[in-house]
C-alpha cells in the first residue's frame, strides 16, 4: 500500500517538521551527539551490550497478552496488550534511558539529567544512573511532584536529585524548559536524556530507534500467535515515544495506527492536551511540530489527569504521520480514561498507568465497532501504582 517511510532527512526533518531550533551554546553539543549516535549505536559491541541489558535487566521481550475477558466483554475485535508495564521500573521509558545512558558512557559523559512528568522517565533515568554509576539530576514540575509522589521518593531512593520546577504550571513543559537551561550551563560534561520523541534532532529519531523494540517484538509475537499482522495498533501519545516505538516497525505494513491524546476535561474546553487534534504548527523545545499555542505564538498550558500526557507539544514524526494520514489521532477525556483504568483492573487484573488507560479506553470503543476477525494491539505503556493516589481521591470523592 504505502511507499517506504524514510524519515528523517539528514538534517533531522520529518517533512516540514523536526529540525534543530536551539541556541548556539547547545548546537555543538547536539551535533556531537548526532555524530556519536551514528557512530556508536551501530557498533556491534554497543548493540550487544544494550541487547543483554534489555533481556537480563529489563526483562525483555515483554509479553504480548491476549486480553480475553476484556475482548469477550466487548464482543468485538480481539484485544492484545503489549505489556510494557512489566518492564523493569514499570514502563517503556527504560528502553530509551538505557540506550541513551550507554551512549553517554561511550561519549565519556558521567552526569545525566532528565525532565519528567509522570516520573516514569525520571525513575528510569535514575535507575540507569544507579546501574552505570553516574550522577543524576531530574527536573520535575511542582504540580507533578504532588500528583506522582511515590515516583519522587523512588528517584531519591535510587540516588538521584529531584529538582522542583515552579515556573509556568509546574508540569512537564516547565520541567523540560528547566532541564534545557541547566544543560546550557553544564553541556561540557553532562548528557541530557530526553524522555520522548521530542526535542531537537537527533532526539526524535534516536528515541524512536531505542523504543522500536516494542513494535519489533509485538510484530513477531502477533505473527507467531495469530499467524497474521494485526488490524490496528493503539497507543497513547504524550510526547509520543511509546506510540512511535510500537508504530514504527509496522509503518510500511497495511496496519491501521491510532494515537490517543489526552482530551482532559474535553477538547471543547481549554483544559486538554490534544496537541495534534487541536494545536497548530509551531516550534517548542527545539523542534517544529504541532503545539498548543495562541495566535501570537505563545505556548498554552495543557491539562490532563495523567502527568505523562500533560504536554502542549508532540514529537515531529507524529505531526508528519498525521499530515500524510498514515496514522489517525483521537482523544480521550479524563473521565473516559478512568473508565478504561477501572475496566482493565476488574476484567483482567491489571492496574494500568493513567497514560495507558487512555489507550485502553480508545481500544474499548474501537473494539466494539470491529468484527471478531479483527486484532487490535494496545500498547500498555506502564503500570498504575504511581497513580493510585490520584485515582483513589477521585473514586472516594464520588462515593
Amino acid at each position: 500500500m504505502s511507499t517506504e517511510h524514510a524519515y528523517p532527512d539528514l538534517k533531522g526533518h520529518f517533512g516540514p517538521y523536526g529540525g534543530r531550533y536551539v541556541g548556539e551554546t547547545l548546537m555543538p553539543a547536539i551535533l556531537e551527539l548526532e555524530e556519536a549516535y551514528h557512530t556508536y549505536a551501530k557498533e556491534p559491541a554497543f548493540i550487544s551490550e544494550l541487547g543483554t541489558l534489555l533481556s537480563r535487566y529489563v526483562g525483555r521481550p515483554t509479553p504480548l497478552y491476549h486480553a480475553k475477558r476484556l475482548s469477550d466483554h466487548l464482543k468485538g475485535a480481539a484485544i492484545y496488550l503489549k505489556r510494557e508495564d512489566l518492564a523493569h521500573t514499570g514502563a517503556h521509558k527504560i528502553n530509551n534511558t538505557l540506550g541513551q545512558a550507554l551512549l553517554a558512557r561511550y561519549m565519556g559523559k558521567k552526569k545525566l539529567i532528565a525532565e519528567t512528568g509522570a516520573g516514569q522517565h525520571g525513575v528510569a533515568t535514575a535507575t540507569t544512573a544507579a546501574l552505570f554509576g553516574m550522577a543524576c539530576k531530574i527536573f520535575m514540575g511542582v504540580e507533578d511532584i504532588k500528583r506522582q509522589a511515590p515516583n519522587v521518593k523512588r528517584m531519591e531512593l535510587l540516588g538521584a536529585t529531584v529538582v522542583p520546577v515552579d515556573s509556568g504550571t509546574g508540569t512537564l513543559k516547565d520541567a523540560m524548559n528547566e532541564a534545557m537551561r541547566y544543560w546550557v550551563g553544564a553541556v561540557e560534561d553532562t548528557f541530557y536524556i530526553i524522555g520522548s520523541v521530542a526535542g531537537p534532532h537527533p532526539y526524535p529519531v534516536m528515541v524512536r530507534d531505542f523504543q522500536k523494540i516494542i513494535g519489533i517484538e509485538a510484530r513477531d509475537q502477533i505473527l507467531e500467535i495469530t499467524g497474521k499482522l494485526p488490524t490496528t495498533l493503539i497507543a497513547c501519545v504524550g510526547g509520543g515515544s511509546n506510540a512511535m516505538g510500537l508504530f514504527y516497525p509496522f509503518i510500511d505494513d497495511d496496519v491501521e495506527m491510532i494515537g490517543v491524546e489526552a482530551a482532559g476535561l474535553g477538547i471543547d474546553t481549554d483544559k486538554h492536551a490534544a496537541t495534534l487534534g487541536m494545536g497548530s504548527i509551531g516550534v517548542l523545545h527545539g523542534s517544529k511540530s504541532y503545539v498548543l499555542q495562541d495566535k501570537f505564538g505563545q505556548i498554552m498550558e495543557a491539562h490532563s489527569i495523567s502527568a505523562g500526557l500533560d504536554y502542549p507539544g508532540v514529537g515531529p514524526e507524529h505531526a508528519l504521520l498525521k499530515d500524510i494520514k498514515r496514522a489517525t489521532y483521537v482523544s480521550i477525556t479524563d473521565k473516559e480514561a478512568l473508565e478504561g483504568f477501572r475496566i482493565l483492573c476488574t476484567l483482567e487484573g491489571i492496574i494500568p498507568a493513567l497514560e495507558s488507560s487512555h489507550a485502553i479506553a480508545c481500544a474499548v470503543s474501537t473494539a466494539k465497532e470491529r468484527s471478531s476477525e479483527d486484532v487490535i494491539i494496545v500498547n500498555l505503556s506502564g503500570r498504575g501504582d504511581k497513580d493510585l493516589g490520584t485515582v483513589f481521591s477521585i473514586f472516594d470523592s464520588k462515593k
Binding site: E24, T25, M27, R181, G185, F296, G297, Q298
Partner: protein, 268 residues
C-alpha cells in the same frame, strides 16, 4: 541609512565601545517601558535590544524569565513590540535590534515580519533559537537584506563554525561570555579574551560580548577586548526591584550613564 555601521564607526572615532542594552519590551507595561527606553537613550545607550516576550524562554535565567512573564501579562505581542519600535523611532536614531525566540516570529509570518520590522524602523534581528542550520526558512522569504541578522557565538562554538556563522551574519556578532543562560554570574575575563581573539581571526564584524555582565567594572574590563558590551539581566533586575517606584525610568537612565561611562577610554 545603516544605523548600526554608523554607530560603530562613530564610536571607533571617539575611542569608545558600544553599550548595548537589552530590555523586555513592555516590562512592566508599554508606556513605562517606552519611558525607560527614552531615558536609556538620553543617557547614552548606543544600541537597543528590544526583547519580544515568550512563554518559554529556555535560554534565559530567572530575571529575564520574570521580565518576559510581566510583559506577557500586559498582553505584549510581537505586534506591540513593532509598534513600540515605531514610537521609539519618533524620537531616537538608536539602532534597534529585535530580540526574539523563533515561535512568535513564525506565528506572525517571517515574510511579514521582515516588511513590518523595516517599516517600523528596526535595524536588525536576533533569533535566539534559530541556528544557521534552520535559518533559510526565515531569511529565504525575506524580500531583501536590509535587516541585519545578528548571530550568537558561544564558548562551545568551534572555530570553523564561528566562521560559518560569521559568513551568514551581519551588523555585529554577539559573543556569549560563558556557557549558561542569561544572568549567570562569574565573569572569566581571560577566557573571554581568548574567545574574542579566536573570533577576531575569522570575522570582520564588530564583536559584542554579553551574558552575566553586571557592573561598571565588568564593562570596563570587557571594553578592553570587545567592540561592544551587552547588558540585559542587570537592567531587568533594576526594573524588577523598583516596579512600584515613580522614578523607575530615571533610575534606568542613571544606571545606563554609569555603564556608558565605563565604555570610554581613560575613564576610571
Amino acid at each position: 541609512m545603516d544605523r548600526l555601521k554608523k554607530t560603530f564607526d562613530r564610536l571607533a572615532e571617539k575611542g569608545e565601545k558600544a553599550l548595548v542594552g537589552f530590555v523586555s519590551a513592555g516590562d512592566p507595561d508599554m508606556e513605562t517601558s517606552l519611558e525607560i527606553i527614552r531615558n536609556m537613550c538620553e543617557a547614552g545607550l548606543d544600541i537597543l535590544e528590544l526583547g519580544v516576550p515568550f512563554s518559554d524562554p529556555t535560554a534565559d535565567g530567572p530575571v529575564i524569565q520574570r521580565s518576559s512573564a510581566r510583559a506577557l501579562e500586559k498582553g505584549i505581542t510581537l505586534e506591540t513590540v513593532l509598534e513600540m519600535t515605531r514610537r521609539i523611532r519618533e524620537y531616537s536614531d538608536i539602532p534597534i535590534i529585535l530580540f526574539s525566540y523563533y515561535n512568535p516570529v513564525f506565528a506572525f509570518g517571517a515574510r511579514q515580519f521582515y516588511t513590518f520590522a523595516l517599516e517600523k524602523g528596526a535595524d536588525g534581528v536576533l533569533i535566539v533559537d534559530l541556528p544557521p542550520e534552520e535559518s533559510d526558512e526565515m531569511t529565504g522569504v525575506w524580500e531583501g537584506n536590509e535587516l541585519s541578522l545578528i548571530r550568537l557565538i558561544a564558548p562551545t562554538t568551534p572555530v570553523e563554525r564561528m566562521k560559518t556563522i560569521s559568513d551568514s551574519a551581519s551588523g555585529f556578532l554577539y559573543m556569549v561570555s560563558k556557557t549558561g543562560v542569561t544572568g549567570s554570574d562569574g565573569l572569566d575575563t581571560s577566557a573571554i579574551e581568548s574567545y574574542v581573539k579566536t573570533l577576531r581571526s575569522v570575522t570582520h564584524l564588530p564583536i559584542c560580548v554579553g551574558f552575566g555582565i553586571s557592573t561598571p567594572e565588568d564593562v570596563r574590563a570587557i571594553s578592553k577586548m570587545a567592540d561592544g558590551i551587552v547588558i540585559g539581566s542587570a537592567f531587568e533586575r533594576l526594573i524588577e526591584n523598583h516596579l512600584e517606584d515613580d522614578d523607575l525610568p530615571e533610575l534606568l537612565g542613571k544606571q545606563t550613564r554609569l555603564f556608558k561611562n565605563a565604555t570610554r577610554k581613560g575613564y576610571v
